[in-house]
Symmetry: C2
Subunit: 488 residues, 2 copies
Amino acid sequence: MAKQITSRSEDYSQWYIDIVKKAGLADNSAVRGCMVIKPYGFAIWENMRDQIDRMFKETGHVNAYFPIFIPKSFLSREAQHVEGFAKECAVVTHHRLMNDPNGGGVVVDPSAKLEEELIVRPTSETIIWHTYKDWINSYRDLPLLINQWANVVRWEMRTRLFLRTAEFLWQEGHTAHATKEEAVKEAELMQKVYADFAEQYMAMPVVRGTKTANERFAGAEETYTIEALMGDAKALQAGTSHFLGQNFAKAFDVKYLNENNVEEYVWATSWGVSTRLVGGLIMTHSDDSGLVLPPKLAPIQVVIVPIPKPAPEIDEAAQEIMNALRAKGITVDYDTDPKKRPGFKFAEHEMKGIPVRIGIGKRDLEKGTVEVARRDTKEKTFQPREGVAEYIEGLLEEIQQNLFNRALKFREDHTTVVDSFDDFKEVVKSKGGFISAHWDGTDETEKRIKELTKATIRCIPQDVEEEEGVCVLTGKPSKRRVLFAKAY
Amino acid sequence: MAKQITSRSEDYSQWYIDIVKKAGLADNSAVRGCMVIKPYGFAIWENMRDQIDRMFKETGHVNAYFPIFIPKSFLSREAQHVEGFAKECAVVTHHRLMNDPNGGGVVVDPSAKLEEELIVRPTSETIIWHTYKDWINSYRDLPLLINQWANVVRWEMRTRLFLRTAEFLWQEGHTAHATKEEAVKEAELMQKVYADFAEQYMAMPVVRGTKTANERFAGAEETYTIEALMGDAKALQAGTSHFLGQNFAKAFDVKYLNENNVEEYVWATSWGVSTRLVGGLIMTHSDDSGLVLPPKLAPIQVVIVPIPKPAPEIDEAAQEIMNALRAKGITVDYDTDPKKRPGFKFAEHEMKGIPVRIGIGKRDLEKGTVEVARRDTKEKTFQPREGVAEYIEGLLEEIQQNLFNRALKFREDHTTVVDSFDDFKEVVKSKGGFISAHWDGTDETEKRIKELTKATIRCIPQDVEEEEGVCVLTGKPSKRRVLFAKAY
């Protein structure tokens, strides 16, 4: 194979980076911690974004756009929020450069210092709630169901392409409601939207739950999360939805007149997913031959390779198959490059995770067949050329489902119920994955377990029944199990 | 009418601002010069963006994403570029805030000063060409046809919603080519894409031409432009496409090995349109009742109003019409608000520029008709309920065409051929619009005319024939007319 990558079992982190680079998804940039998303990686993100956007619109949301800058003083308005967010961020202090009087290029013009520094948004609650004060007067202005697609910046010290970068792309929904019940329902709805997207499109099974107080978003009263398990048995927080109570309404003085003409504070939610999902997608399905993509998000779903090279009768057959596939809304490429051998092309298409490859040779054509290879299992079969588009259509659905099933089985195999701290430590160390254990509900215990094992409480799962037990660390009583894991 | 706006003839600038605000398109924000794009304004921008994006993809371009920050030193690499762009921009100097030791909220942490300041991108040629150096090695890597949708910041002193804001949304294409001819062809192609979009979707006629050396993009060898005429007879530069020669390739040392294995510098283009187009759309078509939108870009194409309020038989008829319209891909709303009278609703829908309104009353239904009002001419007619969806479908096309024709006629009426400087001054002062005049081709004359009249050379039009003449200011010989105008 032309482009070797590190094997997954040998060095998972390096394997991940190799895939990101060799599949042409992203690169590091000249700016510390910021990535360049390359066209193929961006095409995957576009497919994700477009589908998520459709799901937002189907649930009654609209898009808007708020400024990238936040006046520094806004960040101090909500006490918890500033603790969680204000620290590591990009600060704009000046608005002009000038020619260096000493001839050294350009320098910052000291006379162009801003009166108040501006922060490049790490998240937009503050600027948005400042704006909502003008938009909300009466119950008739509610609910306000707004989302924005934007770039945000958090000055991360340790970055990794897609998973943790100083600048990333995301969407952030910010809604305002007349009642607490409605806001809670909204936060739960968006968690469901995220879970549906993850499972139905990314083929990535997720656990739904709520965060402990300790792991909540800064300023939230409840954080709903979806948690996925990556191929190295570490957890990935894939999306969060926050019930913010009246915290931001109070901080920015956003009230409305209710139907009885009484002033009340507004209730809020916020929710977001980011380009981090691309990292999750890679780590859920890929293998030592490269990327594996679920058909519903693959920029190219099918590639046709002439064996060993283009020829009139092969081109004709390829064209006919492409037409039939495109008529079904399936994206397809014909790889006619005369300078590369089929084996080389196969490796390239595997690296890029194209779900289905069709090989067409003259002898196949004489027999009325084509060769169909699926990326997920690498199985190859010969299929009648007649009706091959229908076959492929079904196969893409099968691959989508198989990827989900495979990931679900992996998660089930890597979810362990433990009842002693010795077992807990042993599982963290040897097997990893989710650990279902009793916890006494205190911050201290949660932190102590993290210190001792690096495992954190990923969530208090929603679908787990109450069960009497004792905390795995302290032996104090507990009413339900929570999910621990080491996480990205 | 509920929401009065300033009349266009009385105060054009205020009329414009009134429309932007009362139609719910955008607002000023807490951050100087940055706007908030409200949901209805953003829905228009989304429609524009999605169509432009389709046109880019149809012409072989792909999207990617590059960092928002540019290291300060990059800006000095291309000499002209730094002159044109580096000055008024947002400069990031620190990466951390801390709690004020004196208890005054948060302050910049002086210990977190960046070694090299980062500039929030005013445009991305420098960071992108720095990246292209890694991506381009041989002729096989070319052409590189990449676009990005992004936010950019230019610290403008005088801002106006959509037309000139410190932060704005745009797309910037950056292509790399093996030959000069191919790059020039690309720059011309993108000008054509912009012109087609403006005319076919925005219904905004444009003049295609090239900029004078003086008005060129900083770092370009040729700037192709599309210029539109607004309702106050001022010109708007609506989109530009630049042939950059080898300037950026040389500044960032981007070479490729040609087919003969010889190293050559790469040829470049860049091209962009922005949220400024929303301002152009407003000023091309709107009137004293509010926004007028071309059907192809209207977020809601048809609104149905029950007269005087909802009732079972009206609701049923409305639902039937909505189903028929939606089956044709037409977007439609049914305004059932029981608290607003029809006249109030009509004014609101006119303010929002919804192209077609259907009124349904009980007496109409008995007669088997509905009332159809078009926003562009405000004409109302009664139409048979049977087949009304087909009628509306045709009407939307007619409105789209009528808006274009009307704007084209306005431009033709406001394009004046002049041959003396007295006439020139008189036309600038009294009538405005485009002035077609001879110019001697020098920077000095161009600048002098601007000083004397505030009119600038909008472009050297592409479709104008050579013609012997003398410069309107200096009397020196000239071979062709150029287009002057006062501009936004």
